[in-house]
Each structure stands twice: as C-alpha cells, then as structure tokens.
C-alpha cells in the first residue's frame, strides 16, 4: 500500500486505466481531476443526464469499449478524491492549480500523471472562421454529446481517419452529408496498406465507412485541394480543386480537420521536454518508453503523442506501472510485456495512418495573405509573412512576440503549428528548427480574480483590479 499523493489529470481512456491500475495495486491517496463534468474523455464522451440513446447509437462499433471504460471509472470514482468540472490552469512548485465549482485550489502532489488528450490539427483556409465551420472533433461532439448535426447540409473536409468516421456517424444518425473532401490521394492509402494491416479490424472498419457512404450517395473526393469556405455571415458553400478542375459544393456547415495535436502545455509546465516526430510531423512529449517525463511526472494517451483511444488505455496502464515501480510496489511484468507488444502493433498502424493522410503543409506557401491565421487575435497570413520578412525571427516564440499570432485566448493551440510551418516554409528551414510555442500559465483563460484569490500577491492584484474599475467608471 502507498499513501503517496498521486494526482491524475484527465478521466478519458488513459486517466481511467491509470487510476484503476494504481488503485488496484494499493495506492490509497489518488486525486483525479477532470475539466469535464463526467469521465470518458472526448472519444467516449458521455451524454448529459436525460438523454436516452443506447451506447451503440452513440459509440457505434466502439460501444463495448466505451461502456467498459465508463463502468471502470464509475467503480473507482468513490475510492479516489474525484474532482470533475475543474480546470487545471497551472503546475508549479509540485502543486496543481485548479479552478473548479468551489473556486480556485492548489493541490500538492508527490506524483503526477498527465492524460490531457488532444484537439484537431487545423490548416486554415480562407473562410475557416465563418459560423458553420467546426473542427471534425467538434462536429462529432455535437452528435455524440448533443444529438445535433452542425448543419443541414454538411461537408467533411481535411485528412485523417476521423473524416470518414464522423461522416459515417452523421449519415447513420440521419444527417445530410453532402460530401467528404479528403486531401489525400487514394494512392497514399494503397501505399500504406501493409502497415494498416497491423490492425486489420481498424483497417476494414475504415473501408466499410467508405463503402457505406458511397452506397448512400455521399460524394467522396480524394486528392483535393481545399480552396475556400464561401459565405459572408455564415457558410454557404465550399470550393476546391481536384485534378486541376475547380469545383464548388453548396453546404451550410463544414467539419474541418487534419489529424490531431497533443495537448502538452501542462506537461511542459511540469517539466516535460518535447521532441519532434518526423513521421507525425509534430512535436510530442519525450519520455523514457514507459511514460516518465520528469521526476515523478508521467504521461499517457493522446496528450503525449497521438495514438487513439486504444493506445490511450494501454499507455494509461503503462504509466501506472511506472508509478508503481517507482514507489517500490510490485509490478506485473506480464502486463507490461502485453502492453509493449500491443503498442508495437499500434505504432505500425499509426505510421500507416500518417502515410495514408499526410498533412498537406505545402499549401501554406500559397495561402492568400488576407486569410486569418490566428483566429483569436485576427492575425492574417500576410501580417505574419511581413513580420517574418522584416523582423527575421529565428523561432516561433519570437514571431509570436512580433506579430501576436498565438497570443490570444486559445494560447496557440489552434495556430501554433501553422505558425511554425509558415516560418519554416518562408525561410526554407526544416520544421523542427523553428521551434514550437512554449506552454504558459494559465493554459486556459480564467478570471483574474479567481487566480488572485489564493495566489501570492493577491492583495496587490486586488488593488490593481480596484484601480482598473475606478478608471473604467471614470470613463
């Protein structure tokens, strides 16, 4: 048994399996923090109370896994200090800073397991900030969590397996899917098929989605170049090029996505280092092979490297075994070896997925100047290009300081990688040499008063706020 304080951030597949393993092996002082009101993460997001759909309607072929995961969490929630609805906005001095229903709190930890998930990777195209454009993940959440479609005539555009999955789920739920615009050519998938066969079930599931969509008359275009989301106040159409021919499709909503980006800010604040992964063309967390990233800090799931829900469950358990080993508690060499073997197959499959759906980063060189790059601060491609030419920043953090992209409320989650791609393209340097936006607290916006409540210097902050109020009142 161990009474060391273990804090787990996130309650998706990785967080759930980590908590379950730690608890079963004798850890008795676990705190689980989740920004969401319920466990499941994004992939197995639960419906709010009062919804009546069965698991197979919500999660399709993954219903069994979703239900099993929910059941596991519900069984353990009473045995840990579970804090849903709590945002972790900083990690500092071996304390986790939260803002939840009861206000701000600081939770000291001996060991920390981060399972922070991912969000869609986006390549901006003209019109991408129009009402009606959502991320692919966002479109899927509308359906799973709210039983809503993002529009009456929906186009799914971008690259990645989620493209076909979400289109299929929409079609099954009775939404009108106009088309799937896949930026990757079919030849890429053929070339990757041997790797994809590492997990035949997943590969054949993907083929089934395509077949079902075609049978229902959904147009599937592959190897397209997206030109523009049309409209002035909201989406009215999407235009694209295929084989040198310009095409145009009327629609009122677009689900856009090009794979996922790991959510790594909190890990960085906890001392983790990142490394550039050439296959994935993105930064991931550097760990020791078992999820250790810093002294007493462990990572798992899509938040450390994109792998999907099954990998999240496996790496969640793997991180727990690493914690147990470091606590001097017994570990199961057999389970560790099962996990290692399963992750190897998954890694081959993931390579196949990346090869099937490469990020069309080369588009960015031709993205029109007036296109918005940073949607928070409304910074355009033209403004960023001008800053690159005139001020010659040598890394993205300098570029951020010069032109303000990535400085807004999303903290660069959406545009950070685009900024790096553009800087690399404009200066002819490899992507890994221009760096990445550093994670900074607060990782998500919170009221200053909330932060000041318990933070050092609270009195001074309170005085500033009072002065600011007075200035505003005086006009």
């Amino acid at each position: 048994m161990s009474l060391e304080k273990i804090v787990i951030i996130g309650s998706g597949p990785a967080g759930t399996r980590a908590a379950e393993t730690l608890l079963r092996q004798g850890c008795r002082n676990i705190t689980g923090i989740s920004e969401a009101p319920a466990s499941g993460g994004q992939i197995y997001r639960r419906q709010p109370a009062g919804f009546g759909r069965q698991a197979d309607e919500v999660y399709g072929s993954e219903a069994e896994k979703a239900t099993a995961l929910h059941r596991s969490f519900d069984a353990l929630a009473g045995s840990i200090d579970y804090r849903p609805n709590a945002l972790v906005w900083n990690i500092f001095d071996r304390k986790v800073f939260t803002n939840g229903p009861k206000g701000v709190d600081e939770i000291p930890f001996d060991r920390l397991v981060l399972t922070t998930g991912a969000m869609d990777r986006i390549l901006p195209i003209p019109g991408w900030t129009l009402p009606g454009v959502f991320t692919l993940g966002g479109a899927q959440i509308a359906l799973k969590h709210q039983a809503c479609a993002i529009g009456r005539q929906v186009v799914f555009a971008g690259a990645g397996p989620l493209l076909y999955l979400v289109a299929w789920q929409y079609m099954k739920a009775g939404a009108h899917v106009v088309a799937v615009l896949d930026t990757s050519a079919f030849a890429n998938k053929i070339a990757a098929s041997l790797k994809l066969l590492a997990l035949p079930r997943l590969m054949f599931r993907g083929l089934k989605f395509r077949r079902d969509l075609k049978a229902k008359g959904v147009a599937l275009h592959e190897g397209v170049r997206l030109a523009r989301v049309e409209g002035t106040q909201s989406v009215t159409a999407i235009s694209f090029e295929k084989g040198g021919k310009k095409q145009w499709l009327a629609c009122d909503a677009v689900g856009l996505g090009f794979g996922l980006n790991p959510e790594m800010q909190l890990a960085e604040l906890a001392g983790a280092r990142t490394r550039f992964d050439r296959t994935f063309r993105q930064w991931v967390l550097a760990h020791d092979g078992e999820g250790r990233v810093a002294e007493g800090v462990y990572v798992a799931g899509d938040g450390h490297a994109i792998g999907g829900a099954d990998v999240a469950e496996l790496t969640g358990e793997r991180a727990a075994w690493a914690v147990l080993a470091d606590l001097g508690l017994p570990v199961s060499a057999e389970r560790q070896s099962v996990i290692r073997r399963a992750l190897k197959r998954q890694a081959i499959f993931r390579e196949g997925i990346e090869q099937s759906f490469p990020l069309p980063a080369e588009w960015l060189a031709d993205t029109p100047d007036e296109t918005i790059l940073c949607r928070c601060e409304n910074v355009t491609f033209g403004e960023v290009r001008a800053a690159i030419t005139e001020l010659e920043p040598n890394d993205v953090n300098r570029l951020k300081a010069f032109a303000r992209p990535g400085m807004g409320r999303c903290q660069g989650r959406v545009c950070g990688h685009v900024l790096a791609e553009l800087l690399a393209a404009e200066t002819g340097r490899p992507l890994e040499e221009v760096g990445r936006l550093r994670g900074q607290a607060p990782v998500k916006p919170l009221h200053y008063k909330a932060a000041a409540g318990k933070a050092e210097g609270a009195v001074q902050v309170q005085q500033w706020l009072e002065q600011a109020d007075k200035v505003l009142e005086d006009g």
Partner: protein, 94 residues
C-alpha cells in the same frame, strides 16, 4: 439541427433579451446556434463567430451573462431563466 433526443424537458432562456425555448441538457452553444447563426462578433471586426472546437480548447465560443461574466458556451449547460448575451451587456473592456 437536432437529430433526436427531443423528449427532454423544455427550458426557457433569454438570448440578447429574447425568450427562447431549448431542452435540458443542451449546451449554451447548442441552444444559441439553434436560435440563430452566431454566438458573438469577433473583437477584431472580422465578422461573426459561432464556436469551433466544441471541446473547451479553442475558446472561440465565449458569450456573456447579464453581469458581464464570460461563459464558454460549449461547456456550459442551459439553466431555466438564464440570461445570455452575444456581446458584453456591461460594455466592459474585453
């Protein structure tokens, strides 16, 4: 648009002062977009916005309560009598 789950109890909220009926379990984003086409105007004059990531990451869906407090529409559920605005009714500096 809704694709089902319409048997939930009705909840009445106000959006920019106008009454609107939605369902218990709706997020503010769902309710407001079913009532209209956008959630807010960009502070930088580049037009209306209506959310993006729907998972609390992009922060594009901020709206306001009557007292000027910000609400992240995609992660906030509707409550009866909720008074929600597409622009800060207190005209605070953003």
């Amino acid at each position: 648009m809704r694709l089902g789950e319409q048997a939930r109890p009705a909840v009445e909220i106000k959006i920019d002062g106008k009454r609107f009926s939605c369902l218990a379990g709706d997020t503010v984003l769902t309710a407001v977009l079913l009532a209209g086409r956008h959630l807010r105007q960009s502070e930088f004059g580049d037009g209306p916005r209506a959310g993006f990531c729907n998972m609390g990451a992009c922060q594009d869906c901020w709206m306001y309560r009557a007292d000027g407090e910000r609400v992240r529409a995609c992660t906030t559920y509707v409550e009866g009598g909720m008074d929600i605005y597409t622009a800060d009714p207190q005209h605070h500096v953003a």
